[in-house]
Subunit: 460 residues, 2 copies
């Protein structure tokens, strides 16, 4: 075994936990453009969002304060799984025979098994503080739905989850997890909303989609003043809450006198990527620290590497405000890869602006490369990663092998956003050689982007 200068796992004490989230907006030279109202094409104001979110979250959404205090009640709940460990990947380094030093932050220790509870808990808390009795949300494979279920039951808030019908039936275990945490989970389209009833009338066998589920959740929230809606990625306040990951990681790396040359996160809507990287990016923005920060997306949903920077809807049916984002067009339907959390057409506004300004970079990985990385990681490090997280591992391996070729002792940090205990069916497909590498043609992308032109959505 390798001679070690420091421990395998680096913990913080609970009294060393960050007491405020880091808001990167404060340090960005070019702030993201404002979201626009889809009808008026004018910037949306707080009053437009008030039917959906509690006022504190709306404030955070537009805040340019550098630090936003974490409420004491949220900190107490964070202690159930935070601070999460920072782990030196000695096993992976050995397997790759690389001079690179690899670290990962492990968010799979949370109740729902991913980084999602980092924002679910404060979102539930602020709703609770403002007297909200019920929250609605949508979920695909169930990661976000289970995180929010955990959080809402802690505050005695009722939760209605609209789960995409095909996932509801194909992936029953996340549904069970939500039910254990008291959520009411229905397959979407459902008879609970007008949107749902209309779709079911036309096609009782409709398999559902994330777009339909969002429509149902939003409709239910808007119709009742005591009911709000919650989202698990993309929005600024969601990314803000996730910075607790990077803030901890920074302190943990300090403890072993390390600093990353490369930071890597997988990319769906941007929340775990922002979580690990933003607190380090502060040093790049303010102190010109040399550092590469890489967002890793699937080749089958390449909005960062092949999409366009322009206004687009956050959802796939066109109900939300228009967000300035790298997008494949909200009508783009990504192939059915197992990393469901990365199948999203666009990127959050802040991350899009950072990419536009060359402060971060992006790369894309095929499905089989990501599962190969996941298997190697499970063998070398003992943790079976979520299919989403394997994208970050795959990029880490690329960087580590390049370091070996160049004989460079660079330090790599990546975010292991979740465990894959509920994704073993996907790994079985991979072991059986049944996972495909899907490619997207330029025609597919331009066809979907043209839809935006036809809709006269403003360009940037």
């Amino acid at each position: 075994m390798k001679n070690k200068k420091h421990p395998k796992k680096i913990y913080l004490n609970e009294n060393e936990m960050p007491r405020a989230w880091y808001n990167i907006m404060a340090d960005m030279k070019n702030k993201p453009l404002p979201p626009l109202h889809p009808a008026t094409k004018k910037p949306v104001g707080p009053e437009d969002l008030a039917p959906l979110f509690p006022m504190e979250l709306i404030k955070q959404e537009v805040s340019t304060e550098k630090f936003i205090e974490i409420p004491e009640e949220v900190l107490e709940i964070y202690k159930i799984w935070r601070p999460s460990p920072l782990i030196r990947a000695y096993g992976l380094e050995k397997a790759l025979d690389t001079p690179a030093k690899i670290y990962y932050k492990y968010e799979g220790v949370s109740p729902a098994g991913s980084h999602k509870p980092n924002t679910a808990v404060p979102q539930a808390y602020y709703n609770y503080k403002e007297g909200v009795k019920k929250i609605t949300t949508e979920t695909g494979a169930g990661q976000w739905g289970s995180a929010l279920s955990y959080a809402t039951q802690l505050f005695g808030i009722e939760l209605q989850v609209f789960m995409v019908k095909v996932s509801y039936h194909q992936k029953p275990y996340r549904k069970t997890m939500m039910r254990l945490w008291n959520a009411d989970v229905v397959p979407s389209p459902s008879p609970l909303t007008e949107v749902g009833r209309k779709i079911l009338e036309e096609d009782p066998e409709n398999p559902g989609s994330l777009g339909i589920a969002i429509s149902e959740a939003v409709e239910m929230a808007v119709k009742d003043p005591h009911t709000k809606y919650a989202l698990g990625s993309v929005l600024n306040h969601v990314l803000l809450h996730q910075t607790v990951i990077g803030l901890e990681a920074k302190k943990q790396m300090e403890k072993v006198d390390a600093y990353p040359d490369v930071i890597i996160g997988c990319f769906g809507g941007g929340s775990n990527f922002a979580g690990i990287s933003f607190p380090f990016l502060e040093d790049k923005l303010l102190k010109d620290q040399k550092m590469r920060v890489i967002a890793v997306e699937p080749e089958s949903c390449p909005k960062l590497t092949r999409g366009q920077f322009r206004y687009d809807f956050g959802d796939s049916v066109g109900m939300t405000p228009l967000i300035p984002m790298f997008t494949l067009g909200h009508t783009f339907m990504p192939p059915s890869i197992h990393a469901g959390g990365l199948r999203y057409h666009g990127a959050g506004a802040i991350v899009s602006q950072l990419l536009k300004d060359d402060i971060i970079e992006a790369s894309a990985v095929h499905q089989n490369e990501s599962f190969q990385a996941g298997r190697l990681f499970a063998q070398a490090e003992g943790i079976i990663p979520a299919p989403e997280s394997t994208h970050a591992i795959a990029q880490t391996i690329r960087e580590a092998l390049q370091a070996k070729e160049e004989g460079l002792e660079k330090t790599i940090l990546f975010n292991l956003s979740g465990h894959g205990h509920l994704d073993l069916g996907a790994y079985e497909q991979f072991l059986e050689g049944k996972t495909q590498d899907y490619s997207v043609t330029d025609e597919q992308i331009s066809k979907n982007l043209k839809v935006l032109d036809h809709m006269q959505i403003p360009k940037i």
Copy 2:
């Protein structure tokens, strides 16, 4: 929230890890009786076990040395998930409104998600050191098989797992986990052994049983001098390795000036129970420390509370040495509860002797009480426990509610032996009201014990 004197989670540094396992045999006034050869009824010697186990494990099996050093290589691997956290159950205490202080040691952080890797790793290591190229084992639902798969691939040892056929098909995800860790998993009965071929010839649809799987694994090991066999519970050396749990817990409780009045572990063959309790029992055996230690079994498999203390086979087909144990008879077939790891007819020799001598006690819990405890725990503490572990939680809740009734501030420590991420199907059954409370009649027990009389197996 409750005012806290110490943190939610108590960690040890890696340099505070125990460097030796604790062998309770050294401190027992009444040592367990020796295992007997089933044919000669004479105590078995090392030469009888040599075809199955490496010599170092055979030595540990009969050792009365108080401490047995943990090899450096094993310690390095332990660091992948150890020291495991000791957690103060503030959430559960609040939910129960109890004056009791509840602590739990969480073993679900290991690669396979339970305490099993604590012994799988040293077992693989000692085999590796003695040049063993291949190991065989049996597994039911797959907890042990997955732990051993993880361990053997670290040392480049081939692993053949015989998985009970009905579980192989009903619970495919543990199989996937084993395959990710390079094990060859076959449904048992299999065509790989004489035993298997004979059974398949008579009944190609035979669903298999743990007894058949053991027979296959043992046959394959005995026939090849480079192949050994490994067992995940019951035997003394297995319990020995698990004491790393209690040794850590003892140091962790010292850090917050606490000491348990009651220690609780669920009980299948005895390994997680021994792991948490033996290092504390040292104080009871040597210093007359007042402390209750409770082994919790399912009502549907009540060997400790309603079985007989006598010699019996370790397996259900009668191939192993005779072990002095509390048993329901090796022919006893427990009802199909979801806590598969607790469906075992007997108890290990050391634990049986301790129960016989009133040093420990036992209790039994019905299936629905255990799942109710599991649900409450998931809500209050954020961790979904394995169905086996919920038995320890149910007993903890009983004790905490009694403390409340009596107004006593007692300190309870239990072992949370594993997570339930691969058992959500069982929780779904519970939420649907489909889990049954199985009772065992006195007639069933005495009928199976009479088989032992007929076989002229020596009484104690």
